[in-house]
């Protein structure tokens, strides 16, 4: 009987923009031995469907958007991240929890609420942050959420500040 494969390594890659996260995830995986894959935002399609439904009137709060982000992350963990780790593959979750927490903090939500909301997500072995560049690419969670929220730039700027790589090193 073949021996049980060692579980893979989970690394979290957080940042503002999808294109930067993709590049950061590849870099993070290159530092690890063995095969690896990337789990990206909105694998469940929740935000894709939400944007299609944008004509519905009413406010969309940061809390509601974060509950949806958490639902998407639960989906990614169940279908992408955990099965890959169990199969011995490394996974770069790009983005993971820090991106959502930065958005929530930037929107004025309490740190405890955010911490408790994401307590279902296992701690990553490695945490990385990526600098925001001018690379072209699809909007990531923060840009999409800020657009839905009707943010004039304040929340985005504050989230960018919280997600700066120097901020992680300083912790």
């Amino acid at each position: 009987m073949p021996g049980k494969k060692a579980r893979g390594v989970l690394v979290a890659v957080d940042g503002l923009r999808t294109a930067d996260l993709a590049a950061g995830a590849k870099t993070a995986l290159r530092t690890l031995a063995g095969k690896g894959g990337v789990s990206t935002w909105d694998a469940s399609g929740i935000f894709f469907e939400l944007e299609r439904n944008q004509a519905q009137p009413g406010i969309r709060s940061a809390r509601m958007l974060l509950l949806l982000y958490a639902a998407d992350l639960a989906f990614r963990l169940r279908w992408e991240i955990e099965p890959a780790l169990d199969a011995g593959m490394n996974v770069a979750a790009a983005p993971y929890v820090d991106t959502a927490v930065a958005f929530g903090r930037a929107a004025g939500l309490p740190a405890k609420w955010l911490r408790d909301l994401f307590e279902f997500a296992p701690a990553a072995t490695g945490r990385h942050r990526v600098e925001a560049s001018t690379r072209r690419g699809a909007a990531g969670f923060i840009d999409t959420a800020c657009t839905i929220l009707g943010d004039t730039g304040t929340v985005r700027a504050r989230a960018a500040e919280l997600l700066a790589p120097a901020n992680l090193r300083a912790k």
Binding site: S44, I46, E49, L50, N53, Q56, P57, G58, I59, R60, S61, R63, M64, L67, L68, A70, A71, A74, F75, R78, G108, W113, D116, L117, E119, F120
Partner: protein, 249 residues
């Protein structure tokens, strides 16, 4: 930290605001029938009445419905999507109506989530956090029936759906059998919640009109839950998005 301005605004609204009444109980307990009778009576009394039903946000419901039909939801996703639906209705339907002095009848409220999600294996503190900051209703009417009555009434009407019957967690193929097991556990959670949250319990096996009369009496003698004391965090959170309500007039 809630500003003095917001505290004052909430205090001043206390005597102008509406009342939130939640109807809770298992499927087949007759909540919907009672809700309709109660709504008609309130209107006759001169109240403006708004009804909100569980999982009915126009924005979120389609997302949940699609995933339910695929049977693709884990207990945590189920909880989080329903919490998002609730948050959207609270912010767009319930609080604006209350602020404007209307009576809001919620056909199921967050206690539905607490009972069902805990039975699905979620930790109570985590579910409560998903619904935080909590907005407490003024009154909760709990329609109490036995699991057998609930199962019999549902079986007489229809086959319960996959999630309604708890088939996602029971591993029982027959939806009616699964429902019987699931609803027994849900009722157990409701009973625990009814003590913690001070529900007004009605015997939902009594004749319909007897229950309706009791609801009228309980409503007339019931007390409001002070917003400043119980709901300040939730209202402050909501007012941050609604500057149009910052004018106290």
């Amino acid at each position: 930290m809630i500003s003095k301005k917001i505290r004052k605004l909430v205090e001043e609204r206390e005597h102008k605001r509406g009342i939130l009444v939640a109807f809770e109980g298992p499927d087949g307990s007759g909540k919907t029938t009672q809700r309709k009778l109660f709504k008609d009576w309130l209107k006759q009394q001169g109240h403006q009445v708004v009804t909100t039903k569980w999982n009915s946000s126009k924005l979120i419901k389609p997302l949940v419905k699609a995933r339910k039909s695929l049977r693709a939801l884990s207990p945590s996703e189920f909880c989080l999507l329903h919490a998002a639906d609730f948050r959207h209705r609270l912010e767009n339907d319930i609080l604006p109506a209350l602020w404007e002095g209307k009576v809001v009848i919620a056909d199921r409220y967050l206690f539905t989530a607490l009972a069902r999600d805990v039975v699905r294996g979620m930790e109570l503190h985590w579910v409560l956090n998903a619904y935080a900051p909590l907005f407490w209703p003024d009154m909760v009417f709990y329609f109490s029936v036995s699991p057998e009555t609930s199962g019999r009434r549902i079986a007489a009407e229809r086959t319960p759906s996959f999630y309604e019957s708890g088939q996602d967690i029971t591993d029982i193929d027959n939806p009616h059998e699964s429902y019987q097991k699931f609803i027994g556990d849900v009722i157990g959670e409701y009973n625990a919640l009814s003590h913690i949250f001070d529900f007004m319990t009605l015997d939902a096996e009594k004749p319909i009109y007897d229950q309706h009369r009791e609801i009228r009496q309980l409503f007339q003698s019931g007390k409001r839950r002070s917003w400043s004391e119980f709901n300040l965090d939730a209202i402050a959170d909501w007012l941050a998005y609604r500057p149009e309500y910052h004018d106290a007039r």
